[in-house]
């Protein structure tokens, strides 16, 4: 029982510290000077280098989802609704969530490890004594890059996922690309697209903040770097599900789901 309470208190303490870290980000995110060059570099690192992985995963998810669901749809005589179903599923949930989880694994861990390594080798201190604000240069740029790149990666995952679904549909049935995509997008409304896009920004915020927090506060040498990378992935993945749930709740207030 005592261990349970201790773990709960530690979790709440950690959450509080991460919230304070996020608050520090918001304070500095809109203040000059802006590190444009580093921001662009991080957008490239985070966005471009994750593109292939996100697209490949989205494509395979499109293939698998269609293969799995199609027999049931045929059973109910609703196979013509496949594009509608896959489109809505991808845009609302599968695209954002798959992309966010992939990015939590790839980007969150790499940010945690990179900043953790910089911390234990005193590179962050070196930056500070050279009169540079390391929080602004290292943390603000990475979190901004995650916030900006996640929605773009989600759009790519959605598009490629639908393409995968179309390939299965066109192989197993008779549907043209124009018909497939017009049906997929025809049923979508702002109630599908806006909440998904908004939550993608928050997913980026979570991944960037947790990765940076874990790396920036890494301790105990190389072991600490490994721990920072590992806990960045675990914690951000957990928080992504929490944010997803909250996003659906909030979206439910504004839009009829």
């Amino acid at each position: 029982m005592n261990t349970l309470i201790k773990n709960l208190l530690e979790f709440l303490d950690e959450t509080g510290k991460i919230s304070a870290f996020a608050g520090r980000f918001f304070v500095q995110a809109f203040r000059r000077p802006f590190e444009w060059r580093e921001l662009l570099h991080q957008c490239y690192v985070i966005g471009y280098s994750s593109l292939f992985l996100v697209c490949a995963t989205g494509f395979i998810m499109g293939l698998v989802l269609t293969l799995q669901v199609r027999p049931t749809m045929i059973e109910f005589g609703a196979v013509s609704y496949m594009p509608n179903m896959v489109g809505i599923a991808f845009v609302r949930e599968i695209g954002p969530m798959i992309t966010a989880l992939i990015c939590a694994g790839k980007i969150g861990s790499s940010i945690g490890a990179e900043l953790g390594s910089m911390k234990v080798t005193e590179q962050i201190d070196a930056m500070e004594v050279s009169g540079t604000n390391p929080f602004k240069y290292l943390v603000v740029t990475r979190i901004w890059a995650c916030i900006l790149m996640l929605p773009l990666l989600v759009v790519m995952a959605d598009t490629v996922g639908l393409l995968g679904s179309y390939i299965i549909e066109s192989t197993k049935g008779e549907v043209t690309m124009t018909l497939y995509f017009s049906r997929a997008f025809g049923v979508m409304s702002f109630g599908d697209i806006i909440p998904a896009t908004v939550k993608s920004f928050f997913f980026g915020l979570v991944i960037g903040t947790v990765g940076c927090y874990k790396g920036y506060h890494s301790q105990k040498g190389t072991k600490g770097v490994g721990t920072a990378a590992n806990t960045a992935v675990v914690l951000s993945s957990l928080l992504l599900f929490v944010v997803d749930f909250l996003a659906v709740l909030v979206a439910d207030i504004f839009y009829t789901i």
Binding site: E122, Q123, D125, A126, M127, V129, S130, G131, N133
Partner: protein
């Protein structure tokens, strides 16, 4: 040779031109009191070595000088400015005047040597060093004898080369004070000697004052114009190498004996 008691008399008579003045500095980590009233003055062109055992608070002390750590009590003046009271802008200015060589070199490992040296230059265009960026980078690298390493990554450099590049990065903003944190630790004796000679050369060429944290007695002997033994959180003893080496104080003798035996065997 002075012991700690003599510093009370120094407090009020320190000459105005001291670059660094530390008065009665205290710093604790929880129950562990690391600094218990340390005092120091550093004057232009001086090389002051602070000797102490591992964990005696040497690195903590120089980190307090550039506010990488906050002191609990006391006074730290660098170039006449009270470090704990500075706002961020003023602190950043002071930090450009104080170079810091880290124990592990702390080169930015995602950047080439050129980019490592360019980084502080681009951050401080207000320094107006008078030459173009590329010339300053070459000048700094040439001064440490590493012009041919300009496009290498830190991972491609040996320990001694990393230390030299770190020194070049420290020099590029032309600071008036350089803080060295264990400059020869982890290097073989030949490379360590090269670094010591380089430090002396830099001091001659750039007219810098240096505060050197070390437990390498050879380094201390060659480079110091004055030495301070940091023990039990205070400056236990102070003087030239010769004065301390000939000290009759049992603690100083024991300290010399222990450090020398560790260095040589």
């Amino acid at each position: 040779m002075k012991t700690d008691a003599t510093h009370n008399s120094i407090k009020n008579t320190a000459p105005k031109e001291a670059l660094i003045i530390i008065r009665d500095v205290q710093k604790s980590f929880g129950e562990n009191k690391v600094l218990r009233g340390f005092n120091l003055e550093l004057y232009p062109k001086e090389n002051v070595v602070i000797l102490g055992k591992s964990g005696s608070g040497k690195s903590v002390l120089i980190k307090c000088l550039v506010r990488l750590m906050d002191i609990d009590a006391g006074e730290v003046l660098v170039l006449g400015r009270s470090i704990p009271d500075l706002d961020q802008k003023a602190l950043d200015y002071i930090r450009t005047e104080v170079g810091f060589l880290f124990q592990g070199s702390a080169l930015y490992d995602s950047m080439t040597v050129r980019e490592n040296l360019r980084f502080p230059l681009r951050r401080h265009p207000e320094r107006k060093l008078g030459e173009n960026e590329e010339e300053l980078i070459w000048e700094a690298l040439d001064s440490v004898g590493l012009g041919n390493a300009i496009d290498l990554m830190p991972a491609e450099l040996s320990g001694g080369m990393k230390r030299r590049v770190a020194l070049a990065r420290t020099l590029i903003l032309k600071p008036s004070i350089i803080l060295y944190d264990e400059p020869t630790t982890g290097l073989d004796p030949i490379t360590a000697n090269e670094i010591i000679q380089l430090m002396l050369k830099i001091q001659r060429e750039f007219d810098t004052a240096s505060l050197i944290i070390t437990h390498d007695m050879d380094c201390a002997r060659v480079i110091s114009s004055r030495m301070i033994i940091l023990q039990d959180g205070i400056n236990y003893a102070e003087g030239t190498y010769q004065e301390l080496a000939q000290s009759k104080d049992p603690k100083v003798k024991a300290f010399f004996k222990e450090v020398q035996s560790r260095n040589h065997g």
